[in-house]
Structure formats: structure tokens, C-alpha cells
Amino acid sequence: MSEKKKIDIEYSQLDSERMRINVGPQHPSTHGVLRLEVEVDGEIVTDVVPHLGYLHRSFEKHCEYMTYPQIIPYIDRMDYISAMNNEWPYVMALEKMLDVKVPEKVEYLRVIVAELNRIANHQIAVATFGLDAGAFTPFLFYFRDREYIIWILEKLSGARLLYNYFRVGGVAGDVYPTFKEECHDVIAKVRKTNAEVMNLLIHNNIFIKRTAGVGILTPDVAINYGCSGPVLRGSGMAHDLRRDEPYSIYDRFDFDIPVGKGEVGVVGDCWNRNMVRMHEMEQSCRIIEQALEQMPMEGDVTAAIPKRIKLPKGEIYSRAENPKGELGFYIVSNGTDKPERLKARGPSFVNLSVIPEISKGYMFADLILILGSIDIVLGEVDR
């Protein structure tokens, strides 16, 4: 009798201890210096506590010491993967405050460089996501292609990563003669590699098994947490500032908003979030093609602006669709050449906050993939 009782003990009644694992800040797949304090029961994640601040660079405090043009290099260093996109809302805010009309050519040039940088950003996102899943080769294929984009941006701006290209009322460098051909070349290469990676990684059965149905972010949770960008669109919400609140000249282009459709797995899982990025690269290619067609090649790339930029007293909030989500800058001006206060709304920070919500109950290996699918940049999270 007593023998039988012993066997009847259920698993949940067993005296088991949970283990706390410290993932990061130095860990190969925390995408920088994020630290996650993970509580695991065997391999199952029961709790995740993200710890921030390992890359805190006090962007907002620095802005109070800097004149308006000097802030742009610091904005580059926020989300360093998509620096061009970052500069845009800030410059847009200044232009709105100063009431500067930007030349037509500059608008097109800005669209092209921003979309090129969006492709580069998504390439890194998909590549590192694949790396988290253990596939090393697609990572290098994407970095090979990213190099061609970087070369175009370098010829325009002079730098490879932190461009400091957008200036108030214009851009820093004019187009060069072979610009259009090179852009078309790059688009062809991006499409070719995308098709290849689709077969090599995205539709690989192991990859699907790893990512589909993992880390499901339901639309209401995504909205409640304020997610934006591919994270929100992966959950099936077609929200894109480029279409919903067209800034610059985005209303002139014909493009779709890719959302997670759940071809594989469930809408809002890692696979769909990743797939949205793959589709967005294609849409960016379309936008660049249209912009290249419509762009005037002649003309100046800077508008007439005062040498010393002084904003009128007041405040402004300006936002744009970044590759990671919605990036906004709130500037309070006191009438001098330095801002009184500058607040940035970083999409990575907001998107990261859903991690504890969506990663409980999955395995430890899934947590890494969930983190990878959210595509954060710690420069922007910690600022």
C-alpha cells in the first residue's frame, strides 16, 4: 500500500527548485548589452525581468548642452543601425518650427536613403534572428548585401554607419552621377538574396518549427503596450505612419503595408513578425524604384536657412515610421539655439517591454528567439 502511494505522487507536487539564470549583459544573443534575469523551471521560462541601463548614454541630457545641428550626431548614435531614419523626424521637427520649405529633390533623396537604410536595418534584423536560431550562413549573406547599401550611403554622406546626412532644410551631400544605376543594382541584389534566404532559412522546416507559434503577441496586448512597427504589424494590425499620417512625400508612392497573415503558425508569433520584415524589404524596394523614377536630378540640396539655427519659443512633437517602429521627438524650445528639453520616444524601448508578457511558459531557447524577433537596439532602449 505504502509502495503504491509513493508512485502516485504527481509531478507538480515534487519538490523542485527553480533556477535563476543571468542572460547578459555579455551574451552572444542579447543584441547588445541587455540583461535578462530569467527564472527557469528546467527548461521552461517562468519569469523574465529585463534590466536596462548598460548602454545609458544620456542622450536627452546631452541635447540640452548642444546646439540644434550638433544634436544630429547624437541622434545617429541612438539607433545606430538605422541612423538615416532616426535623423528624419528630428530634422522634420526643426523644419516645421522654422517653417522651411525643403526642395523637391531633397525630399526624394531623403525617401531613398531612408528606405535604403530601412532595408539595411531589416537585413540585420532577419540576419541576427537567423543567427539566434543557429543559422550562420544567412547572416553573412545579408551582411554581404548590406555592404552594397552601405557603399551607396557612404558615397552620399561620407560615413558608413553614423551618417549625419540630414541637415535642417536639406541634406549634406549631393547625388553622384551613377547613383540611380547603383540603386537599381542594389535592389536587384536585395531581391535575389531575399529569395535565396526564403528558401534557405525562412521556409526551412526546422526554422518554422522553432519560430512558428512561439511568442504570440495578440493585437490587444500589442496596442496596450504601445508597440509599433513590425512588432505591431506582425500581430495583424496594419498601422504605418507612412500611410496613416503621410509625412514628407510618402503619399506619392504606391506601396502596401505588410501584416502578419499567419501562413505558418499563428498571427503574432515570431515567424510572422520576421516575415513582415521580409515583406517590408520588398515594399521598400518598390518605394525606391518609384522615387528614383520621379526624382529630379538637377537642383540644390539645401534650402536657405539661417546660419545659426534658433527655434522660436514653443514646443513640437514630430514622429516618423522607423524600421523598428514609431520614433518621435518632443522638443521644447526656449528661443535660444539650444533646446530646453528634448524627449525621444524610442520604439525599441516600448517594444522591449512586452518581453515578460509574451515569453512566459516557453522554453529557454525560445526566449532568445522572441527577443530576436522583436529586433531591439540597445542604443535606443537605454538612450
Partner: protein, 171 residues
Amino acid sequence: MGLLNKLDDPYEGGGIVLGKVEELLNWGRSKSDWYLHFGLACCAIEFMAMNASHFDFMRFGTIPRTSPRQADFIMITGTVTFKMADRIKILYEQMAEPKYVISVGSCSNSGGPYWEHGYHVLKGIDQIIPVDVYIPGCPPRPEAFEEGMILLQKKISRQAIFNKRKRLGTE
């Protein structure tokens, strides 16, 4: 330095044979450098780009290791905040001798853009660990990383193992 310490004193001055052995050991260390993958900020992206196909860091005989125990040198690529600094020190101490440090970019060289108003940024990684090579740039080009790597390899291959006085730089 493990083996190196044992070989130190009796052979002061060395000889042709020891000179050749020293050359061989230095050759081994300079040509096979495993690095600790330590990406902090913007420079880490250029670091990845350097690992990628166009620049191919592996040509220099480097292999990425994720564990500090197996690494030969650590590349500090990015802004080092005070919060991160003690982690870096721990990681550096976990590495096995002989170990080297490459400081990449303005931020880890001297605090970079954050040196003046950054109340939270370490003003130069050399304040906590000894740095062998400084690579300037913000971020440096991938080729600049490789140039720094070549400089480190040159430095290693000139190191004196058997002659202690030479190694300490008193000769």
C-alpha cells in the same frame, strides 16, 4: 603566464635555438587569435560588418568565441558605461593569459562624444584594463579594425618570452 613563467629565468639571453622557439611560439600566438565577442554599441555593427564576407576577419586567423575562458583578446567595441565597466573587468580577469585588449572607437578610447557631459561613461577603457591597441574612429571602418589587428599581431610577434628584462621593457 602559465607556461611562459616557467621558461623565464634560466635562459636569460637565450640562444639561437631559444630564439627560434620564441619565434615559433610568438608566431603561434600572433596568427591564432580567438576573440571574445563583445559588442557594446555602434562599433559592434561595424565589427559584424568586418566579420562578414567583404572584409572577412577570419583571414587573420581569428575565431569568435563566446566564452572569455577561450579568448585570446577582447575587443571593446562601444561606449563603456560605469554600470558595464565592472563587468568588463570581470570578463577580462576571466580570460586566460596571455591576453590582449583592443579598444575600438572613440567611446572606449576616451569616452568619445560622451566624454564631456557623460556622467555615466567611463572616460577610456584603459582606466580599468590595460589596452594594447587603440583603433580610432567613430565607428572605425572595417579596414581600420583589420589594421588594428595587424598592429596587434606585430606587437605579439615582437614579444620577448625568454628574456624577462626585454619583456619588462627595461632593456
